[in-house]
């Protein structure tokens, strides 16, 4: 449920509108629910609205956790 994807905010426009980019495509959306979003932020887009911000540091931490697991597995297995 709730298909939503992180996309890069590339342009803020009047009336809470903004342009986001994802994998080379661009789409106008509303940022009325995340008025604090700025160009360069990643927003979570659902039904044409940003419903939240993506925190790059937290994303990095999660990925680091995965990577750690990789080394741990590598450690345990051989």
């Amino acid at each position: 449920m709730c298909l939503a994807i992180p996309a890069l905010l590339v342009e803020k426009r009047a009336h809470d509108q903004a342009l986001v980019e994802l994998g080379g495509i661009r789409k106008p959306i509303s940022i009325a629910l995340v008025p604090e979003a700025n160009v360069g932020d990643y927003v979570i887009v659902h039904v044409g609205h940003a419903i939240g911000l993506l925190d790059p540091e937290e994303a990095q931490k999660t990925l680091a956790l995965f990577a750690e697991m990789q080394s741990r597995t590598a450690e345990v297995q051989p």
Partner: protein, 370 residues
């Protein structure tokens, strides 16, 4: 004998004939629109054909001017060989999209169906159903594009028909094309021919056409540099068949319903299963992104210039090389194998490391929110 002039002419009859050669004001292609008169079969229809259709589709067969065309039939040795016939209705909306339009699509869609039989396409017919009010300028663009695509494919539009339907009873222009081709003796390419162990190839990235068209739908509008892949695949197939003689079992262009549905069709027709490798299926990043955004699966998105080739395993490498050597097959890939499966499942090993069924398209593929 009756008299020809019953009244004294008011001007002196200083010439044998005072009738004027009928001068028809040329079509106002810039501002004009199709009206019901253009479909009534009278003078307006004749004028439309003469000034708009004939110049765009120009070829001697069409200029015969009859209700059909008489065409030379290339003879094969001993009168062998078969005729191939394929038809498609084209109803794309919007009519103009990045990389193409209804006109060239109507050529490619049908030429490819002929080509996918392993045949050499020879002739096309085109039936236009035009909505009252459609701008002549747009119609001309479509017909010119159709003519150009036909010339490029070397397949003339030899006969045609034009109907006009009332405003609100059509959608701009619909074009049904039928292609006729010649199948050399001994060639048998059919969706029935896949056998377990055969290799499944695709000639390039999938989903380009569908995404290009979707990007133009007002309600979804997104910006992309993706263009439709619409193309006639006759030369690509010729190279492929030459490179893998006798080894090409199935050819099919994955149009409506996309790769997934087409493979399911073949699986059912041949009574086999398939096993695909997701990582091997070429998809452009923007196509992937558009599908993410709209909740679509690129496996179900339409293509208009791609083919699936199922080839005997021993010829797979040669076939792939032949595809890759052609500009329209540069992105070709080996994406899976044919399996034995009484359930005719198309399965896929996911890039993630899992496995799943790749089923028929169910209903329409619509943008989703969940």
């Amino acid at each position: 004998m009756r008299v020809d002039h019953d009244n004294p002419p008011p001007n002196p009859p200083n010439q044998a004939s005072t009738v004027k050669k009928t001068y028809t004001r040329p079509l106002d292609i810039r501002h004009g629109r199709i009206d019901m008169g253009h479909g009534a079969g009278g003078k307006a229809a004749a004028q439309l054909i003469e000034e708009l259709f004939l110049p765009a589709l120009d070829n001697p067969f069409l200029r015969q001017g009859d209700d059909g065309a008489a065409l030379p039939l290339p003879t094969l040795a001993n009168g062998a060989g078969q005729l191939v016939m394929a038809t498609d209705g084209h109803v794309v909306s919007p009519i103009f999209f990045p990389g193409g339009d209804l006109g060239c699509l109507a050529v490619h869609g049908t030429v490819n169906d002929v080509v996918m039989m392993g045949a050499q396409p020879l002739y096309l017919s085109a039936s236009f159903i035009i909505e009252e009010g459609y701008p002549l300028a747009d119609l001309q663009r479509i017909v010119q594009s159709l003519g150009a695509a036909a010339r490029e494919a070397g397949v003339p539009v030899v006969t045609g028909d034009t109907k006009v339907v009332e405003k609100g009873k059509g959608d701009g222009v619909f074009i049904s094309t039928t292609g006729v081709g010649l199948l050399a003796p001994g060639v048998s390419v059919s969706g029935k021919n896949a056998r377990a162990g055969d290799v499944i190839l695709v000639s390039g990235t999938i989903g380009d056409h569908g995404v290009a068209v979707l990007s133009q739908r007002e309600s979804l509008a997104f910006e992309t540099t993706i263009e439709s892949d619409t193309a006639a695949l006759h030369t690509l197939v010729a190279e492929l068949m030459a490179a893998a003689p006798g080894a090409v079992r199935v050819l099919r262009d994955p149009t409506r319903g996309g790769l997934a549905t087409t493979l399911n069709e073949i699986a059912r027709q041949s009574g086999v299963g398939m096993r695909l490798q997701e990582a091997a299926i070429p998809v452009k990043p923007q196509v992937d992104a558009a599908c993410e955004l709209l909740g679509l699966d690129p496996l179900y998105v339409a293509n208009e210039g791609k083919l699936i080739a199922i080839v005997a395993p021993e010829a797979a490498e040669a076939a792939l090389a032949a595809l890759r050597a052609h500009p329209l097959g540069a992105g070709a890939a080996r994406i899976g194998e044919v399996t034995t499966d009484p359930h005719h499942f198309v399965q896929m090993d996911t890039r993630f490391g899992g496995r799943r069924v790749v089923d028929w398209l169910s209903g329409e593929q619509l943008p989703r929110i969940c």
